[in-house]
Structures are given as structure tokens and as C-alpha cells.
């Protein structure tokens, strides 16, 4: 450790200890649940032993002494000299808390004491050989083996009667985490501001990369930087770096579930209730800041569930319920929201009592539905418990939970059934998440659709289409499903812009099919929530920064379905009838297949009737067969180039008025001038070509002609 100051060493220890104490707490709860698993005991021993050693290295002897006490006790468990009992778990948890308090205390406050620290008093007694330090609990039954001269539990909370017993029979290792699965070993705690700086710099690097690409094009005549593997490798690596860096802002819900479980366990013990803890979807990730904002509310909800919801065992048995109650935390991501539900199978909320209390407070409850009455419990002073407890009956109530959640731009939902239990759902919008998405194109724009809402995709099939109740429907798995054009639903195209592949989305029981222009693929998308300034955007869940720096809009399928279904029903008699008139005809002339088809695709999606020709002479032949409203031509082509074609069109008696737009990789002023001299109406350099620019130019020419 040469070169590190004492302060730096202690800071490192504090980082290490935080992870180890979290792990220790989780393992202790696991131990209580499994009832003495050897592997878990060994893992606990390792954590405590390492903490002891590290604390000593950091010169924190008082911390080391506490860890030593814990280590002794765990060693007894490991050797089978002591059984795992709730009291022992209490003692170990209290010791863990004590360690946490000592480590987090400012250096000056963390006096090198043990028994004094246990009672909260300063004490000059040296740590080594000090009294037990597990605050309020006695490590009973092992005094003869202890080297602590102060003896057990000076504070009177000790429970006699623990006996040495054979080691309990081994049970399978715990499924979650496991003795070797402690995440603390692979976790480094990094200050948030450093992460934010890292993310900012990665963003700067990606931006600089884009500028280099433009520089190569503008200054070094590299038409397509992306065609060079080296440039592509850099793009790919920067993309991955940005993705990974962004993910560092997200943490799983499991980072706070240990403290929730601990709160449930301690309170249930204190109240003589038998409560099992169950958690699902704890790997659901959400923004670290949001989770921090929600943690107090979740603690309140689980404590509330134990205190108000869960009955005493005898009461449960009398009601025909299992003796042990269950509190479940279920986290999930649904579209643009993360839901964290706390459910109990306790007594539920008596809405009639809510009504009585509300009426006494002057609330007009006439005509309120049961659900509205339930929601009254989130008003200040409307607790339904018949007595005030020490735990959750004073002051802080669901109204505070509600306001805290709303501060995180979320909401609280309540469901409850008398005698069966209650569920409180905290629903927060996603500020950041990684979603598996289906990427599609519609109306000339690319969109992402969260994959968990995609039922299926299928190719366009004219025979599967029909109409019902004024709406277009398609047959999907032998069921008629209403279909809309995604572009139209998003306000980007006409209602009849149908004909592409179909994506069927679901929102609960509702299904809706959407025509898209193209299915692009599927991949993980780092979804960021939109600014509150544009929060009220229907059908949009958020957006993501693409590798090339562009922004991908992520759609919200439930919102999308609602928007499509609320759209005016259009009596679709036949596609032709609903069209505004004949589609403008565009002739695309280019010898490069890719460019030709790209232009065709863009123009057709925009509603144009597109024909193609591979050179000037073929273009003239096609124009002779049927004229066009716009000609879009390349310059470099075999047989007849674009200049010659333009000149020929201008010289032709019936074609002379057709607007001609040249689109070429020859971008010099001389070429541009030559094209205009030949009679072209516009000139677009392929290096600056983009879809919007092309459509804009074509529309402009059509408008100008009219």
C-alpha cells in the first residue's frame, strides 16, 4: 500500500466494506431462510474474516474488533457448536449494523472502542479483548470459549438457553447469489461524478468521430468513410463504448431489495408475525437516481404491509390462511414504465372503514367507487388501522409515499381485497433502460418497437386483408386484427399507405396490426426518457442515440395502439378510391443498382409512382412510352450520360417541360454549372444526399411546375 495515505486506504476500505456488508446482510437472511447451510455459513465467515483483516490494515482496530466478535460466533456455527436460530441471526445482523455504523462514522467519531461503541458511548477501553459489540444481543452459551473478558450482553437483552448442537444437516446451496456468488468481489464503487464525466467524454469522442468522417469527405475526397474497415472498426468500438458507458447509470432493483427484506424480517420478528419474503424481477434495471428516490417509499410500503396488512399467525390460521404470510416485491418493465409492486396476502383494506374515516374528515364519499375509496388512503390522516403503532402509524403515511413517487414523475396504484391482501404499485416512467427492440421503417423514418410487445410479424398478403366495422383488418392466426399504417398513426403518411410487412403489437388483451415500410432487424436499444418539456408525446416511449449519432425514436406500443384505435374509422372501399388523385410519376435514371433502388424505395414510400432506367437512352425510350412528372438522373452512365439526357429532354417537343434533377457524385462547381447549362432544374451531390433532401427537392420541383 506504499504511496497511499491513511485517508486513501480508509476510503478504499469504506468502498470494500460497503459491498461486503451488503453481501453479509444478504447471506445472513439467506442463512435464516435455509436454516444452517454450510456453504452459506462459510461464505459469511469469509466476509467477516476479510472485513476484520481489511479493517486492521486500514488501522481501524475498533472495526476489526467488532468483526472479530462476529467471526468467533460464525466460527461456532461453522464448527457445529451452535445452532442457527433467529436469535443468532438477530445478533449477527445487529453486529453487521454495528460495523456499518462504525465504518460510516467520521474518523474522529470512530473511537477505537468496542463496548463503548456498542452502547453509543465513547469509551477509552482498547478494542482488543473488549466486550461483545453486537448491540443489544447476547452471544449466549459460549462464554467459556470466548476470549472477550467483558462477557456477553451487558444490556440485558440476552436470551439464555442456546445449546451446543451437532451441525445441522446440509441443505442445497442457496439459489440466489450463493456463497460464492457475492457480487462484492466483482464490484468496484466509483463516484457518480466520475461516471458522469466518463459518459460525457464518450459522447464527445463519438461526436469527434463523426466530425472526422465529415473531414475525410470534405477535405480528402473520401466519398464513403464507412467503406473503410478501419473507420468502421472505430465506429463499432465507439458505439459499444457508448452503450456500455450509458448502462453504468442503471442499477438493478436488487440493489435495494436486501434492505427491504431486512426491514420486513426485523419488523415481523418484533411483532411476532411469520412473514416470508419473495422477490421477482429484481434484475429489472432503472436509473440509479430514480431508484434512490423510490427506496424510502418502498421501505415504507413493506413495513406498512407487515404492520397493517399481515395478521398474527393465529389470526391467519383462524381465517383459514397459511400460518406464514408472504410479502412479494415484483419489479417489471412494461413499455415506457417500470413497475415495482409490493403485494401482501394479509387482511386487505376495509373500504367501508376508509369511507367512515373520510366522512368524519368531511370528505364527501357519496358516489365514490371502491377504487376511489382505496385511493383516499393516500390522503393525509386516513390510516385505517384501529390503533397507532410505533412503526407506521405516526405521521408518515401513504400520502408521503405518494408525494415522493410523484416527485420521481411516477404514480402509486392501489389494489386491495378485504381478507385477501393488498398490492401497492409504484409506476415510474423510464429515464433509462435497455430494451430489446424490433426496428422498423415507416414514413421514411426508422423506429424501434419494444420487443416484448411484438406478437408477430408477417409479410404483406393481399388475401389476408378484409374490412370490419369500418376498419381494415388482417387475419392473424385465424383471428381478425385491426390494421393501420404505422406512418399514418404517427402522422407521417396517409391512411391508405398500406402494403408493407405487418407487425402485430399487444397491450394486454388488445392487439393491433401495423403496416410498416420495412422490417430492419432487432437489437438492444439503450432507451432514454425524453425531456419533461416533451413528456406528453403520445405513442413515444423515449429515444436512443444511434452509433452514427442519429437519434432513434422508441415507440410505446400501448400508446400506439390507443392512438390507432381512437383514430377515426375510415370506410375503406378500395385503396384507389381513397387516393387524392393520380400519383406523381418519377423516372429514376442511374446505372448503379443500389442507388437506383434506394431512390425508388424512398420515392415509392413517399407516394410516388416510380419507374427506373439504367442510362439516358433507356430513359428516353421509357419517356416516349409514358411521360413523367420528374426525371431524376445520374451523370456518369454508359451509352448516354446525364448531361446528354438532360439536353435531349430539353430539346424534345413534348418532354421539354419535365423537371430534371441531377443527383451525382460529381460535385464540383464545374459539373454543377454544366448540368444547369444543359437545362437541369436542380443538382444534388450524392455525398450530401439524404432522404429528406431528396424528397424536398422532388416536391419543390413538382410544386414549381404547378
Amino acid at each position: 500500500m506504499a504511496g497511499l495515505s491513511v485517508g486513501q486506504i480508509r476510503a478504499l476500505f469504506a468502498q470494500e466494506a460497503e459491498g461486503r456488508l451488503q453481501s453479509l446482510s444478504r447471506l445472513l437472511l439467506e442463512l435464516e431462510h435455509t436454516g444452517g447451510d454450510d456453504a452459506v455459513i462459510s461464505a459469511i465467515f469469509r466476509e467477516v474474516h476479510t472485513l476484520k483483516g481489511s479493517a486492521a490494515v486500514a488501522g481501524l482496530d475498533h472495526v476489526s474488533a467488532v468483526a472479530h466478535e462476529l467471526e468467533e460466533l460464525v466460527d461456532d456455527l461453522r464448527a457445529g457448536r451452535r445452532l442457527v436460530t433467529p436469535d443468532v441471526i438477530d445478533t449477527l445482523l445487529a453486529g453487521s449494523d454495528r460495523l456499518e455504523a462504525l465504518i460510516s462514522a467520521p474518523a474522529d467519531d470512530a473511537a477505537p472502542v468496542a463496548s463503548g461503541a456498542a452502547t453509543g458511548r465513547p469509551d477509552a477501553q482498547p478494542a482488543a479483548g473488549a466486550a461483545p459489540v453486537m448491540n443489544g444481543h447476547d452471544v449466549n452459551g459460549r462464554a467459556s470459549e470466548r476470549d472477550a473478558p467483558g462477557g456477553p450482553a451487558a444490556n440485558g437483552h440476552g436470551k439464555p438457553g442456546a445449546v451446543a448442537a451437532p451441525a445441522p444437516s446440509p441443505t442445497p446451496p442457496p439459489s440466489r447469489g450463493g456463497p460464492n456468488g457475492s457480487s462484492a468481489h466483482s464490484v468496484v464503487i466509483v463516484p457518480t461524478e466520475r461516471l458522469e464525466e466518463l459518459i460525457r467524454l464518450v459522447g464527445e469522442a463519438a461526436s469527434a468521430h463523426l466530425r472526422v468522417g465529415r473531414l475525410l469527405t470534405d477535405r480528402f475526397d473520401v466519398t464513403e468513410p464507412a467503406s473503410y474497415p478501419e473507420f468502421n472498426d472505430l465506429s463499432r468500438l465507439l458505439n459499444q463504448l457508448q452503450d456500455k458507458a450509458t448502462r453504468t447509470q442503471m442499477v438493478p432493483v436488487s440493489t435495494i431489495t436486501d434492505q427491504l427484506r431486512r426491514a420486513v424480517r426485523d419488523l415481523a420478528r418484533a411483532q411476532g408475525k411469520d412473514v416470508r419474503w419473495d422477490e421477482r424481477g429484481a434484475d429489472t434495471e432503472l436509473d440509479r437516481g430514480v431508484l434512490r428516490q423510490l427506496s424510502d417509499s418502498l421501505i415504507h410500503l413493506v413495513r406498512n404491509a407487515v404492520d397493517h396488512g399481515i395478521e398474527l399467525p393465529a389470526e391467519r390460521v383462524a381465517a383459514g390462511k397459511p400460518r406464514h404470510a408472504t410479502i412479494r416485491l415484483h419489479a417489471m418493465q412494461l413499455g415506457s414504465e417500470v413497475i415495482i409492486a409490493v403485494t401482501d396476502d394479509g387482511r386487505g383494506i376495509d373500504v367501508e372503514r376508509v369511507r367512515e374515516r373520510a366522512a368524519r374528515q368531511g370528505v364527501d364519499t357519496d358516489g365514490l367507487t371502491e377504487q376511489e375509496l382505496l385511493e383516499l388512503t393516500m390522503r393525509p390522516g386516513l390510516s385505517t388501522t384501529s390503533f397507532v403503532t410505533d412503526i407506521s402509524g405516526r405521521g408518515v403515511g401513504l400520502d408521503v409515499v405518494k408525494s415522493n413517487v410523484e416527485a420521481a414523475r411516477g404514480r402509486v396504484e392501489i389494489r386491495s381485497e378485504l381478507g385477501r391482501g393488498s398490492e401497492f404499485r409504484i409506476v415510474v416512467p423510464i429515464t433509462l433502460a435497455v430494451l430489446r427492440c424490433l426496428l422498423v421503417e415507416a414514413g421514411g423514418q426508422r423506429f424501434a418497437l419494444p420487443f416484448h410487445r411484438v406478437v408477430l410479424t408477417q409479410a404483406y398478403d393481399l388475401t389476408s386483408q378484409s374490412h370490419a366495422e369500418g376498419r381494415s383488418v388482417v387475419w392473424v392466426n385465424d383471428q381478425p386484427v385491426t390494421v393501420s399504417a404505422l406512418a399514418h398513426t404517427l402522422g407521417l403518411g396517409r391512411a391508405d399507405s398500406a402494403g408493407g410487412p405487418i407487425v402485430v403489437l399487444a397491450d394486454g388483451a388488445r392487439r393491433h396490426a401495423f403496416y410498416v415500410d420495412q422490417l430492419v432487424g432487432q437489437r438492444d436499444v439503450v432507451l432514454k426518457g425524453l425531456s419533461p418539456v416533451v413528456l406528453r408525446v403520445p405513442a413515444v416511449a423515449g429515444a436512443s442515440v444511434e452509433p452514427d449519432g442519429s437519434i432513434l425514436v422508441v415507440l410505446d406500443p400501448p400508446g400506439l395502439i390507443a392512438r390507432a384505435q381512437h383514430a377515426n374509422r375510415v370506410a375503406v372501399l378500395s385503396p384507389d378510391v381513397t387516393r387524392d388523385g393520380p400519383r406523381p410519376r418519377v423516372l429514376v435514371v442511374d446505372d448503379a443498382l443500389t442507388v437506383r433502388e434506394l431512390q425508388r424505395s424512398i420515392l415509392e414510400r413517399a407516394g410516388f409512382d416510380v419507374r427506373v432506367a439504367v442510362d439516358g437512352s433507356q430513359a428516353l425510350a421509357k419517356l416516349a412510352e409514358e411521360t413523367a412528372d420528374v426525371v431524376l438522373t445520374d451523370i456518369e452512365m454508359p451509352i448516354m450520360d446525364g448531361f446528354a439526357l438532360t439536353t435531349a429532354i430539353r430539346a424534345h417537343p413534348t418532354l421539354a417541360n419535365i423537371p430534371v434533377l441531377i443527383l451525382s457524385s460529381r460535385a464540383s462547381d464545374g459539373d454543377r454549372q454544366r448540368g444547369l447549362d444543359a437545362g437541369a432544374d436542380g443538382y444534388i451531390a450524392k455525398s450530401g444526399f439524404d432522404e429528406a433532401g431528396l424528397l424536398s427537392a422532388v416536391h419543390r420541383l413538382l410544386g414549381a411546375r404547378v
Binding site: 460525457r200 423506429f447 404517427l490 402522422g491 425524453l530 406528453r536 429515444a543 432513434l552
Partner: protein, 151 residues
């Protein structure tokens, strides 16, 4: 009278002042760098990528109810309680000190009329102008352009 340090935003033929205390940076934008935000209110021109941050770009003219910005060339990015927000400008914003106002302004979201050389500058009040409630409900885009050219 203390002068107000401001950034002057050309918006078509108009010139609007933004108090420096709100300014974060000015960035160039092109049509290709603004991603349209489907179903958004008409005042939202789209989203721009500001070094990995997704920033809404608002139509300054539409916010003021004086038409639309036809082709934004720059965005003045503001610090706001809602995170960074871009206001579209048609020309490069320059910095100036605004002395005593020459009179009151009429539009909601503005805070007086000032003179800079021979130009008229209307000072914006971003707290009012970009409040979410000021943005209105989502609606289809139907707009008329303000005349471009000044700035």
C-alpha cells in the same frame, strides 16, 4: 440601470434576447441532425444529439406564436429545470449587453423590448416560454413559415 447580458437569437427577421444566465451553449444544426419527434406538439422541431444527450429542439417562433422557424441553423441550448432544451435560431447568435428597455413587449414569454445598435431585440423569459404547460397538447403539424433571412 444594470444591463442584461444576453445572447441574441436571430429568428427569421426578428431578434430575440436570451439572458446569459440561461445559456449553456450554441450548436449548429442541420435538417439531417434534427430527428422529428412523431406525435409531438408543433412547437417541438425534434430531437438533437448533443454529445450523447438527447435534447429537444423547440421552434422559437412557434413558442411565441409568430409562425415557425423554416430551417433552423443553430440551437441555443439552455439550462432549464427540465434539463437542456434547445431554441431554434436561423442565424448565428451573438452576445450583447441589453441596457434599459425601450418599452414593454406584447408576447407571452417575453420581458421587454431593447435596442442594440439600430436593431430591436425582444428579451425572452425562458421560465415562461419553455414551461411544459406552455407547449400545449400534441397536435398535427400545420405551419406557416416566418420569413428567413435576418441574422
Amino acid at each position: 440601470m444594470t444591463s442584461v447580458e444576453a445572447v441574441l437569437l436571430p429568428v427569421g427577421g426578428d431578434l430575440y434576447g436570451l439572458p446569459m444566465t440561461w445559456m449553456r451553449e450554441v450548436v449548429a444544426v442541420t435538417a439531417g441532425s434534427v430527428t422529428p419527434l412523431v406525435t409531438a406538439p408543433a412547437v417541438v422541431l425534434g430531437l438533437v444529439n448533443l454529445r450523447g444527450e438527447i435534447v429537444p429542439l423547440l421552434d422559437t417562433a412557434a413558442l411565441l406564436g409568430v409562425g415557425t422557424v423554416p430551417a433552423p441553423a443553430f440551437a441555443a441550448v439552455l439550462y432549464t429545470p427540465y434539463g437542456p432544451v434547445g431554441l431554434a435560431a436561423t442565424g448565428f447568435p451573438e452576445r450583447a449587453a441589453l441596457d434599459a428597455p425601450t418599452g414593454p413587449s406584447e408576447l407571452p414569454g417575453t420581458a421587454g423590448v431593447f435596442r442594440v445598435d439600430r436593431r430591436v431585440v425582444v428579451l425572452l423569459d425562458p421560465a415562461v416560454l419553455i414551461a411544459p404547460e406552455h407547449l400545449g397538447e400534441p397536435e398535427p403539424r400545420a405551419r406557416t413559415s416566418v420569413s428567413a433571412g435576418a441574422g
